[in-house]
Symmetry: C2
Subunit: 370 residues, 2 copies
């Protein structure tokens, strides 16, 4: 896996190798082809020992001399060629930007317009990532970014011409915006914290940031600001690799559970980079149905579970990576029985700072769902 300062050269070499193999096969009069890991549902497995969704051993061949694959083969080669160029130029773009480059021209002399929809190029980027064993971020393709962080940590960012050190304990009300790529040309140093606290909603992040929660408790406070992006998931993984426990505080509803499980076990769509972005060590702080017994004021603060919440709870009970935890089975059965949901914002009811006390107590008592 290409990472760090030498990433560009390493990834460039991989693309050159990819191209040389194709040229070699043409020279020896064989049909040019390459292989990639199968990303179909049947090859997505839950690794119960490691605790995340990943791909099985099935590979697939992309063959130029195959009427059904010729166009896609050409398109993938064009994508590889564009990414090689981006790496040489030391410039990044989005997958939308890549799509328009492909629409403009396939390469030096080829003015063929073989891309009409971005839906065509997206799966081929994944083919290339899986085939080369790199992430799109290594190919200078920026994924959507979202997420904010505060805590005792420094970031050394060599993106562009500058080398900028940012102290993420000095970001005021704004916090530090988590970038698309947290691997290449970026370093996280002086991480002086006891744990990572992830809170689903930005409004709750702001509340806790104002209380100086991360300072008092010496934690790294992150909000994915909704569903966690690739970059935010990767950063959480990297912080866990530094030995920090990861606690997630979300709504007790379909969306909150989904965000948690995506952080913990990865997701079906990103199973091909599961080991890079899943944090199986993560624990769920709440909000949980058993909070209703402990914090009795919550009883008047519940909302009616929606159909989506109910359906999601039923589905989750079917997933082996969830139903192997009896605590989650219990929690989800309570939801199905009570038909209620609880939001994390609720914990501001008694007083605005109560939300921090709730988290403190949960962590002190190690009162989590797995």
């Amino acid at each position: 896996m290409a990472k760090g300062k030498k990433a560009t050269e390493e990834t460039s070499k991989l693309i050159v190798g990819f191209g040389e193999n194709i040229v070699h096969e043409i020279k020896i009069q064989k049909p040019p082809k390459f292989s990639t890991v199968a990303r179909s549902r049947s090859n997505i497995v839950f690794d119960s020992k490691k605790g995340y969704l990943t791909l099985g051993k099935a590979t697939e061949e992309r063959n130029f001399i195959n009427a059904a694959q010729t166009k896609r083969f050409m398109q993938t080669v064009a994508i590889a060629s564009k990414c090689y160029k981006f790496l040489n130029e030391n410039l990044h773009t989005s997958i939308r930007g890549l799509f328009y480059q492909l629409k403009y021209s396939l390469g030096e002399d080829i003015d063929e317009n073989i891309f009409s929809e971005q839906a065509e190029s997206n799966p081929l980027i994944e083919d290339l990532e899986a085939s080369l064993g790199v992430r799109r971020e290594d190919l200078n393709l920026n994924a959507t970014r979202r997420g904010v962080l505060a805590g005792n940590m420094k970031v050394i960012d060599s993106y562009g011409d500058d080398r900028i050190t940012t102290d993420t304990s000095k970001m005021g009300r704004s916090g530090w915006a988590i970038p698309s790529d947290v691997d290449n040309e970026i370093e996280f140093v002086d991480v002086k914290a006891k744990y990572v606290l992830v809170v689903e909603k930005d409004a709750i992040w702001q509340r806790l940031n104002e209380d100086g929660f991360w300072k008092k408790e010496n934690c790294i406070l992150i909000s994915p600001q909704g569903q966690a992006t690739r970059g935010t998931r990767r950063l959480i993984r990297k912080l866990a690799d530094k030995g920090l426990p990861v606690y997630v505080f979300n709504d007790g509803d379909a969306w909150g559970w989904y965000i948690y499980w995506t952080i913990k076990t990865g997701s079906i769509n990103l199973a091909y980079i599961g080991s890079d972005i899943a944090t199986p060590e993560a624990k769920f702080i709440g909000v949980t149905m058993s909070d209703l017994e402990k914090y009795t004021f919550l009883k008047k603060m519940t909302l009616k579970a929606t159909e989506v919440d109910i359906k999601r709870a039923q589905e989750m009970l079917e997933y082996q990576w969830i139903n192997r935890h009896k605590e989650w089975v219990e929690e989800l059965k309570k939801v199905l029985k009570l038909k209620m949901k609880l939001e994390q914002d609720t914990l501001q009811g008694p007083r605005l700072t109560f939300i921090g006390d709730y988290i403190r107590e949960k962590i002190k008592n190690q009162d989590f769902l797995p």
Copy 2:
């Protein structure tokens, strides 16, 4: 309008005055009431001289002794009381947090649960804002934040216990995250830039940031990251107040136009704070249909306009604040004729850095839509 360091005290005084009026009326045995500016459609006007959507002179009375209004009156007083508390505590929350505080308890001794949906409290917050002549941010209520900035400027942020100075030219790939409230306890100093460039999409912001566009051109580079929040619109207004021209670079489609016009003239929903958040001086850089003639490669990069784009273009031709500009009438008629749209990402087609050249040329030639 309460702003700056004394904001808390000023706003608190306004709330006290609001309460004292009610108490006074009870004492003299009159029905307690307060008045607010009418926010109904019939009172929303386009101020053609100033160039933004605002409220007319119609006021509405909220009367306690009116069966239809009693509950809402009580609710508004409860909201005022909560905000007064937040100001005294020097703590902020979201309108969701406020809703849960109201659900928990209306005040010291009142355990009545008169709020069942947040939809009930939201319009009453606006009643209170309009009645007191403050923004919700002055009431320590955080609105959703989104948006990122880079440029030669410093921010002095006194939120919480610290007083933090951030140099927004040293934010690397992340940029500075625009907060919810850009008025209270925050200052923008050393703004050394020639203009403000707003780009709709974060991916384009990242592209231009990587190119050092804001550094080379000495501009403040902002992305609202989609629709501009209250905070981002207010910040653009404040930068325009410092004498900087504001140029907006968006997609040439329904959403891109909408984002532009919201920045320029404000919106119907926020007409009650129109003067604070609209920037009528803003100009539209593109992407425009006439770009198709100038940059001929764009012809193969167009997308088919969707039904939403067509419907929006038709609606826009009806708005007096748009159809008074003949250039916009021409542009929208072209859209309706060609049934095409163009995305800003397209300008990366020839090479990734072309997008900066396009903007440079547009600004050099002052080639804008009004």
